[in-house]
Symmetry: C2
Subunit: 161 residues, 2 copies
Amino acid sequence: MKPARSGCPINAAVEAFGDSWSLLVLRDVMFGNRLYFRELLAGSEEGIASNVLADRLKRLVAAGLLTRDGAGPGRRAAYKLTEASIQLVPVFAQLGDWGIRHRPTTERLRMRAELLTAGGSELWTDLMTELRVIHLDAPALQFERQSVIQRLANVYAAASE
Amino acid sequence: MKPARSGCPINAAVEAFGDSWSLLVLRDVMFGNRLYFRELLAGSEEGIASNVLADRLKRLVAAGLLTRDGAGPGRRAAYKLTEASIQLVPVFAQLGDWGIRHRPTTERLRMRAELLTAGGSELWTDLMTELRVIHLDAPALQFERQSVIQRLANVYAAASE
């Protein structure tokens, strides 16, 4: 990583993941549960190019926002979130909330952001807990509630029908 | 504006202001109360170049995130926030909070973000109310509390001494 342009926390955050494609890749790992290069490429709503995706994955690993593991003969590498990128949930939730209110969006792609907005910080905390199980191998918990990840997948599937 | 790459609210938000320099310019108008080109150029902690600043101001006006007015013979143009960009306060607050926790930052530039984090959503709402007075000519209110903008300026001045 190059030295930061300034020690401002907002600048530091933007330098870490503020490139648009990096942010969209993180979004797809986080909310789309896509852990593999091919899934990320084929599923990209914005049509990310294969060389751009490869470059951004490398950068995100270097920045400590993704880990890459499991690659081997006949095995694809899996990209997973780190504690730092899991803590971006509130940033994504606020970005999505702003996008819904101030930009034209499509219903199919809006449903998950609406769920995040409606659930507020309590739901974001629950989501981060679940992401730690998937991405950081945190011990699985018995949830008394329906999984947030499952709810996000459900509203997306319903809207895509 | 080009058509959006997708109708996803996060993508739509990122396309509107996700370019790093655009975001830093908005930050300086919002938290530094810098309304003029020269102030924005001279005060930039990240050393924005004059042509980049001019380009991003134009883009932000086109995107409905800044207004430009008051220019005339012997009068400089003032850039002001719009309702849409004032509603970015929670996004900036979450970005700053993440930056403090996960990136190296300098104390002088960290103080304002710490105040925003500590104050939570109640303080963000108060700040938005005050920004509407400055930027949207909303009627000034008699605050029973100390102005958030003044508190931000105070902690920054104290840290800069």
